[in-house]
Symmetry: C2
Subunit: 340 residues, 2 copies
Amino acid sequence: MKLGELGEFGLISRIAANVSMGHGVITGIGDDAAVTAVTPGMQLLTSTDMLLEGVHFRRSWHAPYLLGRKSLAVNISDIAAMGGIPRWATLSLAIPKDCSLEYLDSFTKGFLSLAADHGVALIGGDTCRSNSGLIISVTIQGEQLPEMVVRRSGAQPGDEIWVTGTQGDAAFGLALLEGKIAPFRQGRGGETDDAERYLISRLLDPTPRIATGRALAESGLVTAMIDISDGLMADFEHIAELSGVGGTIQADTLPISPALQSASQHLSDFPYSLVLSGGEDYELAFTAPVDHRKKIIEITKKSGIDATPVGIVTSSPGVKAVRSDGSQIAPQAHGFTHFT
Amino acid sequence: MKLGELGEFGLISRIAANVSMGHGVITGIGDDAAVTAVTPGMQLLTSTDMLLEGVHFRRSWHAPYLLGRKSLAVNISDIAAMGGIPRWATLSLAIPKDCSLEYLDSFTKGFLSLAADHGVALIGGDTCRSNSGLIISVTIQGEQLPEMVVRRSGAQPGDEIWVTGTQGDAAFGLALLEGKIAPFRQGRGGETDDAERYLISRLLDPTPRIATGRALAESGLVTAMIDISDGLMADFEHIAELSGVGGTIQADTLPISPALQSASQHLSDFPYSLVLSGGEDYELAFTAPVDHRKKIIEITKKSGIDATPVGIVTSSPGVKAVRSDGSQIAPQAHGFTHFT
């Protein structure tokens, strides 16, 4: 069947047929608005992200199943950054003529697979035609007890700066897809293909750190948190600005994946810019008093991903990155920003 | 200043500077997610609508201030249709290069003016560049006591079908803008210009029926409700389908504005198709037992807009429109649908 034969309401029914009711869902897809019940005593967390073909993704690189997963993952990641529990999502799609029903089925399957991973219910959305590319707009709602919510604004001078997982993988994956790291591919065997696939998968299918964000929030040990979507330097600058502090990142302590380590051996210089300023890893950056270090290592490991202390919050404003020899790394383009 | 100089975060700050905190807002724009407090005992209502340049609007027809208002109005209208109280909105914008900062300022001003009219707080969003037209995605959240929420699914055979306000104005306004009703303009004086302006304003600056929807919901008298965005016939079909009923609309009882009455005098036939199937009036259609008629007329008048009974819910499925002589009006294109 073609989308034109199915029509707008047929497409909505087709999506709705695969959706199961979730926690607190009273009325899901199909009315003027969804009706949900926030857990008594909890506050509501809301975030929204738009993904545009040609700006945020290319259909030729991104299989629809993974694009569906990523559309939700980047939203869920914002709930993780608040220490929240993700609950309900809306999905709006503007669909170009050359998008087949099979493509949309695969996209929806991917979206719903990540939703199932995290207990998120799809409760509504909007569909229309697009005269240009595919447009995806997702709004995610989560919840958490008021005293557990972690904001960007609580970092204190002397706190350690932490990151989860490894840095720069997604940016390296993008550079690979863009053909900017061509030598990497030459003269290497199967093991390199694995590294390459890993780095690209970090870009195309990121893992939102929900369990870790929530465990950190509920531990009461962290003072500020953000997800790293625009690059560590740019995103930590948001924490610094809202907390009225600065920070120094020890660039040589940043956790690097074996895949990126292997790949970067073939480059003339170590790609500090990717690791410091590469976006889309969707790891968490957070701050905590130094004496919580041991507990934080335990908590994060238990939640399924390691965390690493990578710097110190300073009372003087400004965020800088230094190497182990004390030299400062030039603050080049620190992360992606639109319009400029 | 130009948008390119301001940058993404500059634009967000510029918008945030004009936003006041609203009911239940704990943390608004500026963190990974907004934090809000749903009123204890109330359920959360969520709806989302996307507006695309070239599909839903033309920038040449729609002044940015009014486009900002309408972007929120069409969303708020869905909360009205549930009988809810609108509270919090997110606004995502994908902005083409030829959209000036003045344009965006005016758009935001319009959006926030309608938000202020209805006590809605802007709590977040997303901004990015667009390689094609202007893309607007809004998610609205509202709340209401569980027992007050009105769904599409409660219509009972024998109930009367009601509409608020007047029908077909926005569709006539669109036909005017599209040049489809050219004779209308000829040989008429100032009074016609007023009618013309009124009909076009109904398209460009619709009024969501929040006070009326809420008053009806809280009265407990109505059995089902929907907002008329795709045309009365198409939207009532949603009520019929979800309620497992049918309906007969008395076409000659549909409330017509003086402006549309005046304008349609110049047409060879009365424009039943616009009145029955024209979209975008954002009036409410609802059903209620016949013996509540007097109370409903009182409640709606008190809420600021008249309501009119226009038909009867039937136990046999199918929605049809008949004239006062009993003849059925051909079910032509009943409302707008994407893809087909």
